[in-house]
Symmetry: C2
Subunit: 196 residues, 2 copies
C-alpha cells in the first residue's frame, strides 16, 4: 500500500468532484492521502496549457460533464459556478496554512461547497471568511498568517515542486512516481496505491 499525494488547486473545476469524494473513498480503502495545495494557474501559464479560456465549446462541455458526474456521485452543485476565480492565489495560500495547522482539508471542502453549491467564488468574501468561521477558524487571524512571507513562499515552493514532479493540472494524484491526472483517474490511482 502506497500513500497518495493529492495535488490540487482551489480554482480548478473538476477538483470539486475529488475534494468532495476523496476523504470517504480513501477511508473506505484505508489509504493515506497527503493533500498538497499549489497554484495551478502559474503552472498552466508557464506551460502554455490553457484549458478553457476563450474556448466556449470546451467550457460548455466541461460544465455539462461535471454536472453528469456530480449527479452520479450524489452531489448537487449549481452550475456553472463562478469561473475563473479572481482569488485563486489567496484561496490556496489559506489552504497551505490550513494544511500546516490541521484544518486545511475541512477548509478546502467548505470553500468548494460554497463555491459550487451556493455560487460564492472561493478566495474572497463572503465565501472565504464564512468557510473559515464554519470550521472554527478566526478569519482575521488566518488572513494575516496566510499573507505572511512564510506562507506566500510555501505556496510558491509547493508549485515549483509540483512542476518538478510532472504535475501539470489539478486534480493530480502521485502514487510513488506514477502520475494520474483528473478526477476520472481517482479510482485508477487508488487501485495503483493498493497494488504497489
Amino acid at each position: 500500500m502506497t500513500p497518495i499525494d493529492f495535488w490540487f488547486s482551489i480554482g480548478s473545476t473538476y477538483s470539486y468532484l475529488t475534494v468532495m469524494r476523496l476523504p470517504q473513498l480513501a477511508d473506505a480503502k484505508g489509504i493515506e492521502v497527503r493533500w498538497h495545495p499549489f497554484n495551478v494557474r502559474h503552472v498552466m501559464v508557464a506551460q502554455n496549457n490553457i484549458p478553457f479560456k476563450d474556448k466556449p465549446e470546451k467550457t460548455a462541455y466541461m460544465w455539462r460533464d461535471i454536472a453528469r458526474r456530480a449527479e452520479g456521485y450524489g452531489l448537487s452543485p449549481k452550475l456553472p459556478a463562478p469561473y475563473p476565480l479572481a482569488g485563486l492565489v489567496l484561496a490556496n495560500e489559506v489552504a497551505e496554512l490550513g494544511m500546516r495547522e490541521g484544518w486545511g482539508i475541512d477548509y478546502t471542502r467548505a470553500t468548494y461547497r460554497r463555491w459550487f453549491e451556493q455560487g460564492e467564488p472561493a478566495g474572497e468574501a463572503p465565501n472565504l471568511p464564512e468557510s473559515l468561521r464554519e470550521i472554527g477558524q478566526d478569519p482575521e487571524r488566518v488572513m494575516e498568517r496566510a499573507g505572511s512571507e512564510e506562507i506566500v513562499q510555501a505556496l510558491a515552493s509547493a508549485t515549483a515542486d509540483a512542476m518538478t514532479l510532472g504535475v501539470f493540472g489539478s486534480p493530480s494524484f502521485l502514487v510513488g512516481h506514477e502520475l494520474f491526472w483528473g478526477d476520472d483517474r481517482l479510482e485508477d490511482a487508488i487501485a495503483w496505491a493498493m497494488s504497489h
Copy 2:
C-alpha cells in the same frame, strides 16, 4: 435505445483505444454506432484548442496514460507512436470514402493498428496502402477516389457538421443531443444510449 454517433479523427491518440474496443462493446450491448470521420485538427486550430503541441509535460503524461489504459484493455501498442501525423487529412478522406463504400471501419482499425502497434504513421506509405490491401481494397483506386472533389468536400462538410454539433475533440460520442468526449467516457455514452 438511442444510436451512438461516433465522431473521430485518425490522428487522435486516445481514439486508438476507442477504435480498437468499440465494435466489440457495441455488439455486446446491441447498440447501433455510426462512425463519422472528421478533421479534428481543423476544429482545434479554429477553436485555439491545442492539447499537446509544445506541451512536453502533458504529452509525456498522455503516452503513459494511454499505455496504462491500453494494458487494461488487453491492447499492446508500441508507445510513443509517431505523432503528430503529417497525413491526417488524407487518412480521414480515405476513411470518409470507406464509410460510403462499406469498408471504413475495417480500414480505420487496420491503419490504427499499424500506426500504434507497428510504428507506421497513418495517412502515408507504407501504412496507408498496406492497410487498404489488408482489407481487400486496391490502393490505387482508393487514392484516386479519396482525392476527388466529392470526398474532399465530404470531409470538410463533416468537419463543419461536427463543429455545429459541439464536437471539439476526438473521440466524441453523441447520443441524441448528449455529448461525451474522450475514450474514458465511452462507457458513459453507452449507458446513456441504453437508457434513452
